[in-house]
C-alpha cells in the first residue's frame, strides 16, 4: 500500500501573496465589479431573511451552543459514536488529511467501487480527496451544480457555498457545450441547469458510492444532518449501496434543540432562505446498504488548545462573511490561496501555515462587517488582529510592513501627532493621487483601485465645529 502514499497527501498550493493574486483578479475591472455586485446581491438577500425580532437572540444561542459543544467535544463525539455504531453506522477517526483519504479509499476499494457521486463538502476539498480517488482509478462526479462546473473546469471552488460564483453564464454555456454537448451559445440558466439535471441524476442514481459532508452531527440523536437545495446529497445517499459522510470533529452539537437553532441561522445567513429545500437527519443506514462516518481532526484539536483562536472552530460554513467582505468581493476566492477563502479563511489559514499565509490577516480593512454578520458570532476582526500580532512577533510580516509599522508607531501613539498627521494627509492626498508612479509601490492603489478623495476637515474637526464635541 506504500505505493499509494503520494496520492494520499493533498498537494499544497504555491505560496502567493494576497495583493499579488488580487492584482490578477482586478486586471479585468468590469469583471471585478460584476463579481462584487453578485456577492452583494447574496448579502442583501441575507439581510432580508435575518430581519426577525429574535435574530440577535438566535445568534447568541448559536454562539453559545457551539462554545458548549467545544467545551464537551470529546464526550459528545463519544456519545455520537456510541449511538451511531449501535444503529449500524461505521464510525472512523482520522488524525489528518492523509489518514482521511486512506480510510475513504480503503472503504471504496473493499467494496469494489468504480464510480463515486459526491455532494458538497469543504472538508474533502481541504483533504484533497478528489485527486486522491482519481489517482486510484475511481471516477468522481461532484454533483452540486456549482461544484460540477468548477470540476469540469479543473478548478477548486472559489466560494464555500456558491462554488462557481466567479463564472459567467456564457462561459458555463461554452463549458457545457464542450463537456455535455449542449447547443453552442445556449446560456439560459434554466436550459443549462436542465441539462445538468439529467447528467447529474444519472451520475447520482448509478453511483457505486455516495460521499457527502455534513452540516452537523447531533450527539443526542446519533444523527448526521445534511442540508442542500438541489437534493443531490439525498439522491446519492439513498440510492448508492455505500454512503460515506466525511465530517470535521467541530461539526458536533449536543442536542436536537441546538439543531433547531442551527437550522434557523444557517440558510438565512448563507443564501437568504428560511431553510434549505432538503434538510436530512439520518441515524441509521437503510436496509441493505452501508453507512460510514469519518471524523476528521486535521489540525482542529490543536486549534482547540489555542484559547484566543478557538472560536474559529464554531464556523458553520455559511459564507456570510465572504459575501459581505469588501476585500473578498473585490479580490475573488482564489486570491486567498486557501481552501476556505474570505475573512474566515484569513483566520483559518494562518493556523495551518502562518509563513505561507502571512498576507491573509492583512487582506482586511478591519471594517468589522464579517463579525457583524457571522451567525455564530466569531470575532473575526479580533482574530485577524491577533494573527497580525503573531506574524509580527514571529518576524513574518509581509514585506515592507515591519518598517511601515515601526515608523507609524510613534505617530499613532500620540493624539497630537496623529491629528497633525491627519491634517497633513488630507492636504497631501490630492497630490499623491496625481503621482501615478506611486501606484506601483502601494498594493492598495494597483489598477482598479485608487486613493480616496480627502474631506476638507477631520471627523473630530467636524464634530467640534457643529457643536457635537466640546
Amino acid at each position: 500500500m506504500l505505493a499509494d502514499e503520494h496520492i494520499l497527501m493533498s498537494t499544497s498550493l504555491p505560496v502567493l501573496s494576497h495583493p499579488d493574486a488580487a492584482k490578477a483578479f482586478l486586471h479585468d475591472g468590469e469583471r471585478a465589479a460584476w463579481h462584487d455586485d453578485a456577492l452583494w446581491y447574496v448579502r442583501s438577500k441575507r439581510d432580508r431573511a435575518t430581519d426577525l425580532p429574535e435574530w440577535e437572540a438566535l445568534r447568541e444561542a448559536a454562539s453559545a451552543l457551539k462554545a458548549h459543544a467545544m467545551s464537551r467535544l470529546a464526550e459528545l463525539l463519544e456519545a455520537f459514536e456510541q449511538r451511531a455504531t449501535a444503529s449500524g453506522i461505521v464510525v472512523h477517526w482520522a488524525r489528518d488529511a492523509a489518514e482521511h483519504n486512506r480510510i475513504v479509499l480503503d472503504i471504496l476499494r473493499s467494496t469494489g467501487v468504480k464510480r463515486v457521486a459526491k455532494s458538497k463538502s469543504m472538508l474533502t476539498e481541504e483533504c484533497g480527496l478528489n485527486p486522491c480517488l482519481e489517482a486510484a482509478g475511481i471516477e468522481v462526479v461532484d454533483t452540486d451544480l456549482g461544484e460540477r462546473i468548477v470540476q469540469l473546469a479543473h478548478q477548486p471552488p472559489s466560494h464555500i457555498v456558491i462554488p462557481a460564483i466567479h463564472w459567467k453564464k456564457e462561459e458555463i454555456a461554452q463549458l457545457f457545450h464542450t463537456a455535455m454537448g449542449t447547443p453552442a451559445g445556449e446560456s439560459s440558466p434554466d436550459a443549462l441547469a436542465g441539462v445538468a439535471r439529467v447528467h447529474l441524476r444519472d451520475a447520482l442514481l448509478h453511483a457505486d458510492a455516495a460521499i457527502t459532508g455534513a452540516n452537523a452531527l447531533v450527539a443526542e440523536t446519533g444523527g448526521v444532518v445534511v442540508c442542500t437545495n438541489e437534493g443531490n446529497a439525498d439522491l446519492g445517499m439513498h440510492s448508492a449501496p455505500v454512503h460515506i459522510a466525511c465530517v470535521g470533529i467541530e461539526k458536533i452539537i449536543a442536542t436536537r434543540d441546538d439543531l433547531g437553532v442551527l437550522l434557523r441561522v444557517l440558510a438565512r445567513s448563507a443564501t437568504g432562505q428560511p431553510v434549505t429545500a432538503y434538510t436530512t437527519h439520518v441515524t441509521a443506514p437503510r436496509a441493505g446498504s452501508a453507512m460510514h462516518v469519518v471524523l476528521v481532526d486535521n489540525g482542529r484539536s490543536a486549534r482547540l488548545a489555542d484559547a484566543e483562536m478557538r472560536s474559529a472552530l464554531h464556523c458553520i460554513r455559511c459564507g456570510a462573511c465572504l459575501n459581505t467582505c469588501p476585500i473578498y468581493r473585490r479580490s475573488g476566492g482564489y486570491s486567498y490561496n486557501h481552501v476556505i477563502p474570505g475573512p474566515i479563511g484569513a483566520i483559518l489559514a494562518p493556523a495551518v501555515n502562518l509563513d505561507a499565509h502571512r498576507t491573509l490577516p492583512f487582506a482586511s480593512t478591519l471594517c468589522g462587517s464579517c463579525g457583524d454578520v457571522c451567525p455564530v458570532k466569531i470575532d473575526i476582526p479580533a482574530q485577524l488582529v491577533t494573527w497580525r500580532e503573531r506574524s509580527a512577533a514571529a518576524g513574518m510580516l509581509p514585506a515592507g510592513y515591519a518598517t511601515l509599522f515601526k515608523r507609524l508607531g510613534p505617530l499613532l501613539a500620540s493624539r497630537t501627532r496623529f491629528n497633525r498627521a491627519g491634517a497633513w494627509a488630507r492636504r497631501l492626498l490630492p497630490v499623491l493621487r496625481a503621482l501615478s508612479f506611486l501606484r506601483r509601490l502601494n498594493p492598495w492603489t494597483r489598477p482598479g483601485r485608487d486613493l480616496p478623495v480627502a474631506p476638507a476637515e477631520s471627523f473630530r474637526e467636524w464634530a467640534k465645529r457643529t457643536g457635537r464635541l466640546s
Binding site: 425580532p53 488524525r95 453564464k169 439535471r197 437545495n229 436530512t280
Partner: protein, 167 residues
C-alpha cells in the same frame, strides 16, 4: 495509539473551559396565523399549498395541480409543518423506501392542517425519537449556481405540493 484515542486525548488536553448550553429562542405565532404564514412562505420557496375542501379528494386536487402526463408522482404523509420556513417533516418510517423521496419528479405531501408549528424550535422537539431517517422538505429542489438565477427543479423534485387536510 489509535487515531481515535489520539484525537480524544488531544481534545481533552486542550482543556476548554466549561461553557453553558444555549438558551431556547422561541417566537410564538398566533394559532390563526400559522396556516397563512405557512402558505405564504411555501409559495415564496417555490412550492404550492392547497387546503383540501370538503368536496375535493387528493386525486381531484392533483388532477388540477399537476400536468396531465406527469410522471414520477410520489405522495407521502408529513408528520408536521413549520410556519416560519414552510418545511414539512417526513419520516422514512412513513414511506416505502427512502429513495422514493428523491426519485420523485413531483412530490406531494399530505399534512393535517392542525399539525403546524411556529418555528424550528418546536419542530425539532417533534421529531420522532426512534427515527432512522427523516427530512425537512421546504419547497422543490432548486439551484442558483448559475449567476444567482433561481432555477426550480435542480436534481430533486421539480414541483412540491402540500395538501393540507382539514381538521
Amino acid at each position: 495509539m489509535s487515531a481515535r484515542d489520539a484525537i480524544l486525548t488531544a481534545i481533552r488536553a486542550a482543556q476548554v473551559p466549561a461553557s453553558p448550553p444555549a438558551s431556547a429562542v422561541a417566537r410564538p405565532i398566533a394559532e390563526d396565523d400559522l396556516l397563512p404564514q405557512f402558505l405564504r412562505v411555501l409559495s415564496e420557496v417555490g412550492g404550492a399549498g392547497i387546503v383540501r375542501g370538503a368536496h375535493q379528494t387528493v386525486a381531484s386536487i392533483l388532477a388540477d395541480a399537476l400536468p396531465p402526463d406527469a410522471e414520477g408522482v410520489v405522495i407521502a404523509r408529513g408528520r408536521f409543518g413549520v410556519a416560519e420556513n414552510a418545511a414539512v417533516y417526513v419520516d422514512a418510517a412513513d414511506i416505502d423506501a427512502r429513495a422514493d423521496i428523491i426519485r420523485a419528479e413531483h412530490l406531494v405531501l399530505l399534512l393535517p392542517v392542525t399539525a403546524l408549528v411556529p418555528t424550528m424550535h418546536e419542530a425539532v422537539r417533534r421529531m420522532p425519537d426512534k427515527s432512522a431517517c427523516g427530512w425537512f422538505l421546504s419547497g422543490p429542489s432548486k439551484t442558483a449556481d448559475i449567476e444567482q438565477a433561481l432555477v426550480i427543479g435542480a436534481q430533486g423534485a421539480r414541483t412540491l405540493h402540500v395538501i393540507l387536510e382539514p381538521a
